[in-house]
């Protein structure tokens, strides 16, 4: 940002700058200690601040059965709920633009209410991930993602491989 041309590296690089009278000995040490303490203070404050911010904005990705086994962990938290759109559970109110369906992992199921039109590829028995939180037992979603590449069908006895389901929804 110099207005005048700058000399390239000169021996001045290795020249020790003259220390001013004020800057000698004890003064310098105490200055260093002061800077050090200030630095540590700033780091502690920043650490607490970051911890706090992280803690409040973590969004867990879980399946319905994981939520059902420990609902208290997710109270007042934003979560991403993954699962399958239950058969014969879909209804869309095209006046209110409310999409209602049940999301299931074959063990537990929850009612989902999503504001907005169903995405193009949304259909029964497809994997979806909804983002939002529970309000009075209903999962209110503001973001609906269709995981379109796979179609899940429960095994004849009605069970679903949860690990596979989880993996395919991520």
């Amino acid at each position: 940002m110099a207005d005048s041309p700058q000399p390239n590296s000169t021996p001045a690089d290795s020249i020790r700058y003259p220390v001013t009278a004020l800057d000698s000995g004890r003064n310098r040490v105490s200055k260093k200690i002061a800077y050090g303490l200030a630095g540590i203070g700033v780091l502690i404050v920043a650490g607490l601040f970051i911890y706090q911010a992280l803690n409040t904005s973590l969004v867990y990705f879980i399946l319905p059965s994981e939520h059902a086994s420990n609902p208290s962990q997710y109270v007042n938290r934003r979560i991403r709920l993954g699962g399958i759109v239950e058969k014969d559970s879909v209804s869309f109110d095209d006046e209110q633009l409310l999409l209602n369906f049940y999301i299931t992992d074959s063990i537990d199921r929850y009612a989902v209410s999503h504001y907005g039109t169903p995405p193009e590829l949304f259909q029964e028995n497809t994997g979806v991930v909804v983002e939002g939180g529970f309000e009075n037992g209903v999962f209110v979603s503001d973001n609906l993602l269709v995981k379109h590449s796979e179609v899940y069908e429960a095994a004849p006895d009605g069970t679903v491989d949860l690990d596979m389901l989880r993996e395919s929804l991520e």
Binding site: Q6, S9, Y17, A53, L54, T56, Y60, R80, P118, H148
Partner: protein, 667 residues
């Protein structure tokens, strides 16, 4: 031409192998030449770098030929191209998937290496810098040659391919954004290489940075513009009416930009005051290492994104290279610690260098916070097995205060003199800046801005604007007094003679414009879903009236689109006709892409995206309507930033006033 088509995979693979072999030779010859002080070996390494570039150019031309002639015997073409695609899509399909994007990167890396080998002056740093650049070329070419060969032969070629990802072929920005990004990454590799060379040669003065100044500024400029271009692509294509979502992909490419920005400022302290040697080395190492780390995170499939290209095999490869870069460069830095330690000390915090240092610390703090938020899900999963994402609130909470502090420093830093500021001038300048900042914030408040961050941003924008006026005033007024010439004449002379200074003022001005754009669109974006019957209209709260005139269909050989024609009215006047639609690319029918249409205006954008479907048996349409104030300021600011960056790079010239009545005073 069956013979020719059959030979394309072979030609491509052979070019890569040749490039690889010559690049390895170039590294070896460079190292041997340095150890033995053999000028002939060093020269040979330089010519080898040019040969590598030529071999890589052949590979790129082979790929282009394969894409343009629809040669589906090349695996990459079979997997990503489509015969019916328009010409430009075929050309840019080269970087629409993993293998091709590495090919582009490797090609640009070898090109930059060749330019450095050919054009940089013969001095103590050149040889090792070329070695480092060649090592980087070897890495990228080897990724292509060993784990992600774009020229793999398909024994039974299909008749046609699926075409590139619809999100990519849906917008011409795909032709621009990736290239700019790589030009940024590769450009910033050059100062890194010279820094390494400086360490190896035990010359950690400022020569490595003054020699690479143009590379640094241009690389930084490309990176910044590439990010904004990516944001604009996101705005125009993704249908949610935003440009930045703190997505991992955005974050990791933001990181090297942050460290590069810090670097751009702190090099001036070293050039001027011979301080911060170790700090500058640290920053340029971080910039390069973060580039590689980012590519690992994006391309390895650790995070899902349009950039991930599936779970590619290149992940471990990039991770290993990242670790190598970190170990070697920090090892070298430790080894040379005695030479890079600063002997000078800050005279005062309230000085140009003090403010730059503080700004640097803030940039680094932001880098750390964004990196932490991006990697945190990986830590959590490793520790507890829980799948989590870190939401945008974290990034906003952490980065907005840091950003405001940087924004505040941006105004005061350039006004402070080196070494130590006099109390009097500081107070006077600050009084003006804070005064104008307060007035701006007050005007915004009266106009209805009540949110905290937008209000602060407007305040600091006024404060920064005052700072620019004061800077120009301080530069021009004394020159006018001495020369006795008029304002414009002196202004012209100042602008031409102090290119970097004036360019930086332009760039800082663009930052003010973009900050206002981000504050307006981030703070006051209105996002709603509106149901409108065909032929009817709906009036929004903002008094715009949207009239859905009719549905329409479009068909081209490679795409089918269905959409609605919407007239936008304000009061009784029709101000625009928008055509939001849904595109379905043939070969990619499973992924229809909403294609928004935007009315760009100075104060407010109207952004329409079809939500759900458009079909003949449905007599209404649901539109996602996003109204973002000031969002256009970001794009305009980006153009100004580009101009300012380019201005810094113009060769220095002496200004000669047209009627040369008197001698031009030395500045």
């Amino acid at each position: 031409m069956p013979e020719l088509s059959l030979s394309l995979p072979m030609l491509g693979t052979a070019s890569l192998a040749l490039a690889m072999a010559v690049a390895v030779y170039a590294v070896a010859a460079g190292i041997m030449g340095a150890i033995r002080h053999d000028a002939r070996l060093q020269t040979s390494a330089r010519y080898a770098a040019i040969a590598v570039f030529m071999a890589m150019t052949t590979a790129v031309l082979t790929m282009q030929t394969a894409l343009l002639t629809d040669d589906f015997s090349v695996e990459y073409v079979a997997q990503t191209s489509r015969a019916a695609s328009p010409l430009w899509v075929k050309v840019v399909t080269m970087w629409a998937a993993l293998e091709g994007s590495i090919l582009l990167w490797a090609w640009l890396a070898s090109g930059y290496t060749a330019v450095v080998a050919f054009a940089s002056p013969n001095n103590a740093l050149r040889n090792w810098a070329i070695v480092v650049l060649n090592v980087v070329s070897v890495f990228f070419i080897s990724v292509n040659a060993f784990v992600a060969n774009p020229f793999t032969l398909v024994p039974n070629p299909p008749m046609d391919g699926p075409g590139p990802n619809p999100l990519l072929q849906n917008h011409w920005m795909m032709a621009v954004h990736p290239v700019l990004m790589y030009l940024g990454f590769v450009g910033l590799t050059v100062p890194f290489a010279f820094a390494m060379s400086a360490l190896i040669n035990k010359r950690p003065g400022s020569e490595w940075m003054s020699q690479t100044r143009a590379w640094t500024i241009s690389g930084w400029g490309f990176l910044g513009i590439a990010k904004i271009a990516g944001g604009w692509w996101s705005y125009e294509v993704l249908g949610w009416g935003g440009y930045w979502a703190w997505d991992p992909v955005e974050n990791v490419s933001f990181l090297p930009w942050l460290t590069a920005t810090a670097f751009l400022h702190s090099v001036q302290v070293q050039e001027r005051r011979r301080m911060l040697k170790a700090w500058n080395l640290l920053l340029i190492i971080l910039t390069f290492a973060l580039t590689i780390l980012g590519t690992f995170i994006i391309r390895s499939g650790v995070v899902s994104s349009v950039h991930a290209f599936g779970d590619g095999p290149v992940g471990p490869y990039f991770l290993a290279f990242f670790l190598l870069v970190v170990l070697v460069s920090f090892g070298l830095l430790m080894l040379r610690w005695d030479q890079v330690r600063d002997h000078g000390e800050l005279d005062a915090i309230v000085s140009r260098e003090g403010s730059f240092l503080l700004g640097n610390v803030l940039f680094l703090a932001m880098t750390f916070a964004v990196l932490l938020g991006t990697l945190f899900p990986l830590f959590v999963e490793a520790v507890s097995g829980d799948k989590v994402t870190v939401g945008a609130p974290f990034f906003n909470q952490v980065s907005l205060p840091i950003w405001l502090a940087i924004f505040a420093l941006m105004g005061i830093g350039p006004l402070l003199p080196w070494r130590k500021a006099s109390h009097q001038s500081l107070v006077k300048n600050l009084a003006w800046m804070v005064g104008i900042g307060l007035v701006s914030a007050l005007i915004a408040y009266v106009a209805g801005v009540r949110k905290v961050y937008p209000l602060w941003t407007v305040g600091f924008a006024g404060y920064n604007f005052a700072s620019i006026v004061l800077l120009l005033d301080a530069a021009i007024r004394p020159r006018m007094r001495i020369s006795g010439r008029g304002f414009w004449s002196v202004f012209g002379q100042y602008a031409v003679e102090s290119r970097r200074r004036f360019g930086s003022i332009i760039v800082h001005f663009s930052v003010i414009i973009m900050a206002l754009g981000v504050a307006g669109s981030g703070g006051y974006r209105v996002d709603e879903q509106v149901r409108i019957e065909i032929g009817e209209s709906v009036t929004l709260d903002s008094n715009y009236r949207l009239e859905v005139v009719d549905r329409f269909m479009e068909q081209t050989p490679y795409r089918v689109a269905g959409g609605v024609l919407v007239n936008v009215h304000r009061g009784n006047r029709q101000i625009a006709s928008l055509r939001p639609k849904i595109n379905v690319f043939l070969g990619q029918e499973q992924q229809p892409v909403p294609t928004p249409d935007v009315l760009y205006t100075v104060w407010q954008d109207i952004y329409l995206s079809v939500s759900g479907t458009v079909s003949p048996d449905q007599d209404f349409v649901v539109l996602r309507v996003v109204q973002s104030p000031l969002v256009a300021w970001i794009w305009v600011g980006a153009v100004i930033m580009l101009v300012g960056t380019f201005y810094c790079l113009l060769p220095k010239r002496r200004y000669v006033p047209v009627p040369a009545r008197q001698a031009v005073p030395a500045s």
